[in-house]
């Protein structure tokens, strides 16, 4: 059993700083000329006095340019995801460890003392201190103009605001009267909760600090409506579209949008070093080419990206593999982490009363699940490489139990038929389709967002299986937004979409996906709405299992120990497995990851996930390095001949 929840962070912090008995530092070759000219301080002055020593799988040499491809200018935010520099971060084993923070002391799950690294600097060389936290909390998050809807959710423990103290320049303390288990996971997310911002830069745009006339001029110049809009536009720590905004990330944006190519250069003040005393990141420069998302697999296959997974799909695999030797890269297959690649969502809150009654009958959902031949889907569509079973946590998760995945998942048409007869759906029409209680034929229309053929391929296979038990299935592709709006309004009988977003939870992550808390949950949009809008809209959950799930979620938030949380998780997963709220198909479908043969330290087999995982972020992109045996501007050479 894992005991390393975040309650032990203080210990981890101590370990990190003990390791930080740092080796003598070496100057980065790329920055040496600037240091010589006196434009940059030497490396000893640039890294914090207690840097974070990261041990890479393979020691690298600094330099080189990493090329990425992205689908739009908005994707500059992904550098913040890939860079994955957070106050605390997940390790590849999904435990939390301090990163920007030197350590965090946690008492009772409600008092969090963050110790910063003395001498830590922003990418423009200005010190990073408790003032940056104070400015954010007092002047940004608590300012009604800048944050009209108040503090972020994760800073409220059952509606209670935190008490925030700044004992000295390198210490920040957040405390609540009750435990706040959301706080640290929010800080470690791929889209993190930033509880700091570069105060010295942003104060120029804040009405409280800036000269009113100068500020008014800046607002007009930027075409904004008022100073709050300007401040929010420039404070783009996640959006990452402001090249002037200082950052703590390994690479800093240099190109001003709009552009079709974004350049990110190394942050000379980055706080991590390798055991040999070389400042990270190894790679000098990252360039992000912008192309239409649909053409990215083709461009990747032409060797125009050194590291690519986004916008590549499993069905691109053969094409990419074919060009592998020609363009000097390797295609790796990583696991993805959704609880299920695709799952069917019977809408328990559908408007139609007959359907509502039927879908709420657990026997019906079980029958649908039993009538689905997952093995066939796996063989036909996923080359047999996926994991068959229900929509639940993946085997890599510490909460995994085989019985959750196997429950009602074995193909058995006889059992399904028996269950359907038992419900009373005995009458059939001439086509052999069963009839609903009001005489309509049992035709299920499965709606989807119409974005990929994968969904329709799956449904095509399921349709054949279901016809054998007297159920007709129709596919209705629409458009993403229309699809969502119909589901939220209760028009949809059943939909198909990705399963649980996070199939790799630990007990310390909130089990939000398992209880009806948002209308995005297609199995019960209206119950979710009810919770989300604080009972203004939607409907209250009125079946015992859903009420139980909500109660368990509350228990989780009140829990103090790891073991309690673990039990809550197990119980909730058990309810899902037994009730078959969603009908999972297959999981663990692989994500092709194209890695240039010059690029080192990228794991051969990894997990490609958003949260936790931050795509590549969790695997320490700052330790990736490029061997210099091939020319950098490879794209201009005749690719067809180069490798032969």
């Amino acid at each position: 059993m894992r005991r390393l929840g975040f309650f032990f962070l203080a210990v981890l912090g101590a370990i990190a700083s003990a390791r930080a008995e740092a080796p003598p530092l070496k100057e980065t070759p790329d920055l040496a000329p600037a240091v010589k000219r006196g434009e940059l301080p030497p490396v000893e002055k640039r890294v914090p006095s207690a840097p974070l020593v990261t041990t890479p799988a393979e020691m690298g040499t600094p330099g080189g340019e990493l090329r990425l491809l992205m689908g739009g200018a908005k994707d500059t935010r992904l550098m913040v995801v890939y860079g994955y520099t957070r106050l605390v971060r997940y390790t590849p084993a999904y435990e939390l460890e301090p990163d920007i923070a030197q350590s965090i002391d946690v008492e009772d799950g409600r008092r969090f003392t963050i110790h910063l690294r003395p001498g830590h600097k922003w990418s423009d060389g200005k010190p990073f201190t408790a003032e940056d936290f104070r400015y954010w909390y007092e002047d940004v998050a608590s300012n009604p103009k800048l944050s009209p809807s108040g503090l972020p959710e994760a800073l409220l423990s059952e509606g209670e605001k935190p008490k925030v103290e700044f004992p000295d320049a390198h210490t920040v303390r957040y405390s609540w009267t009750k435990p706040n288990p959301l706080f640290l996971p929010a800080l470690a997310g791929p889209y993190p909760l930033f509880i700091y911002c570069p105060a010295h830069y942003l104060k120029q745009f804040h009405a409280k600090y800036a000269d009113a006339k100068v500020l008014a001029d800046r607002v007009t110049e930027a075409g904004q409506r008022n100073w709050a809009a300007l401040h929010n536009k420039l404070d783009a720590q996640y959006r990452n579209d402001n090249p002037e905004l200082p950052t703590l990330e390994p690479w800093v944006l240099k190109t001003r949008p709009p552009s079709d190519r974004f350049v990110f250069t190394r942050n000379p003040f980055f706080h991590r070093i390798d055991p040999a005393g070389v400042q990270l990141p190894y790679i000098d420069q990252v360039t992000m080419g912008i192309a239409d998302a649909k053409i990215i697999p083709a461009k990747t296959g032409a060797g125009e990206s050194d590291l690519q997974a986004r916008y590549l799909r499993f069905d691109n695999y053969t094409f990419l593999k074919e060009a592998e030797s020609r363009n000097n890269y390797t295609v790796r297959l990583w696991r993805t982490a959704p609880g299920s690649q695709l799952a069917l969502y019977p809408d328990l809150t559908v408007n139609d009363p007959v359907w509502r009654k039927l879908l709420r009958d657990v026997r019906f959902r079980r029958a649908l699940s039993l009538a689905t031949n997952r093995h066939k889907i796996n063989q036909v569509i996923y080359y047999g490489l996926a994991i068959e079973g229900q929509n639940t946590v993946l085997p890599q998760s510490p909460l995994y139990d085989a019985k959750f995945r196997e429950a009602w998942a074995k193909f058995d048409a006889d059992a399904a038929n028996k269950l359907l007869d038992e419900i009373g759906l005995k009458e059939r029409n001439d086509d052999g389709t069963r009839l609903l209680s009001d005489g309509r034929p049992l035709q299920i229309i499965v709606e989807n967002a119409g974005e990929s053929t994968e969904q329709s391929d799956n449904l095509e296979l399921i349709r054949d299986d279901w016809r054998d038990v007297g159920i007709e299935l129709f596919t209705k592709p629409s458009q993403l937004k229309v699809f969502h709006l119909r589901a939220f309004a209760g028009e949809t009988i059943m939909s198909i979409d990705k399963g649980f977003e996070n199939g790799l939870p630990t007990a310390d992550m909130p089990p939000l996906e398992l209880a009806p808390v948002t209308q995005q949950q297609l199995e019960w949009p209206k119950w979710g709405q009810y919770y989300e809008t604080k009972h203004q809209a939607g409907e209250a959950p009125d079946i015992p299992a859903a009420e139980k799930l909500l109660a368990l979620l509350r228990t989780w938030f009140d829990s103090k120990t790891h073991e309690e949380r673990r039990q809550v998780w197990q119980e909730m997963l058990g309810i899902h497995a037994d009730q078959v709220f969603t009908i999972g198909l297959v999981a663990g479908v692989q994500q092709p990851v194209v890695v240039s043969n010059r690029l080192h330290n990228v794991p051969v087999g990894g997990v490609y996930n958003w949260d936790p995982g931050a795509h590549f972020g969790i695997y320490h992109t700052e330790t990736f390095w490029l061997a210099s045996d091939a020319p950098t501007a490879a794209s201009d050479l005749p690719n067809g001949k180069k490798a032969q």
């Binding site: 552009s259 053409i295 461009k299 125009e304 201009d636 001949k641």
Partner: protein, 332 residues
């Protein structure tokens, strides 16, 4: 003549007003707005969304106001030269459009030149050698050009260009030149990349133009004045160029009206397939994500160019062909 021009200019105003209302209505027609599209898109990628920030932006940009107020706000801005604000790019619209216009212009202009250079000689040749073996061959090629879907051709050419000539896929220049100042190498790189889009976009137009030129010219060639000119001993080339060809040109001049907006908007579908940095894909994205000020202002700009273009081509026709009378234009 002067009265005619003033009349035409004045009639543009109600035309543009109606166009602006239609544009705005159509953009607003699909359910939801830019932010709901944005949220749905992020969630489909499995990413988190900061709903508080979205609420802030919505209020900031007046999404809570009635539609007619949003419309007035937009139109009044347009009259002041303010094209509004793009949510997608988080920048004023003029900053986004400006960069793309030049390259769009280059591509479109090259396409037009390519079309004319190829279509005219072939069209004239086909007409003068009607039903000959060479005419049949060229006609066959022309139909082939008309019938090939150009996005398919784009894909095939891209693949060939990449595998055999090592030209990077998509885009108008090699990635490393993208944010560099103009240099000789950059110009060469653009020229290397330019031929595919030019051929692809121009192909259907070229084929169409060959057919039209051939048909028009054939009508003229059998008229009596041509026979007379020949009989009087005018050299065949002059007898062709002096009158029949000029007569056959009228449809092309009236085409200028639609050419002007076309040069600016580029061929959207081909540009998307080839990921060209032109305005076509930008407009398409803006429409899809309901980035209403970007889409609206750009469409308005195109509408304005069409109106001007039609006006100019009418004037040019009147100037070039004495048979066209102004009176006819007014009563039409």
């Amino acid at each position: 003549m002067f009265g005619y021009i003033v009349h035409r200019l004045l009639i543009m105003i109600p035309t543009l007003i109606v166009i602006s209302i239609v544009i705005f209505t159509i953009i607003q027609l699909p359910p939801g707005d830019y932010f709901s599209t944005y949220v749905a898109e992020l969630q489909s990628q499995g990413e988190a969304v900061d709903l508080q920030k979205i609420a802030f932006l919505k209020a900031q940009y007046g999404f809570d106001k009635p539609v007619w107020q949003q419309y007035l706000y937009w139109v009044v801005g347009l009259l002041h030269g303010d094209m509004g604000y793009s949510f997608e790019y988080n920048l004023p619209v003029r900053d986004i459009v400006g960069d793309k216009l030049l390259l769009t212009f280059v591509v479109s202009f090259a396409t037009v030149v390519f079309t004319y250079l190829v279509a005219f000689p072939i069209g004239i040749y086909s007409a003068t050698h009607q039903y000959s073996w060479s005419d049949h061959t060229l006609t066959f090629l022309g139909f082939l050009g008309l019938a090939t879907p150009n996005f398919l051709l784009a894909l095939v050419l891209l693949y060939i260009a990449n595998v055999y000539f090592g030209i990077s896929i998509g885009g108008l220049m090699d990635p490393r030149y993208l944010d560099e100042p103009w240099s000789w190498g950059k110009v060469v790189s653009v020229l290397q990349h330019l031929w595919i889009p030019v051929v692809v976009i121009g192909l259907a137009g070229t084929a169409g133009m060959i057919r039209r030129l051939r048909a028009n010219l054939l009508d003229e060639l059998h008229k009596q004045y041509v026979v007379t000119a020949r009989a009087k001993g005018l050299p065949p080339f002059r007898a062709l160029m002096k009158y029949p060809l000029r007569m056959a040109l009228n449809p092309f001049i009236s085409d200028i009206g639609s050419l002007l907006p076309h040069i600016i908007s580029g061929a959207a579908v081909v540009s998307v397939v080839m990921s060209l940095p032109t305005t076509g894909p930008m407009l398409l994205d803006a429409l899809r994500s309901q980035d209403m000020y970007l889409a609206g202002s750009f469409l308005m700009f195109l509408a304005f160019l069409s109106v001007i273009g039609v006006f100019l081509s009418d004037l040019a026709l009147a100037a070039l062909d004495p048979r066209i009378r102004l009176r006819g234009g007014v009563t039409r």
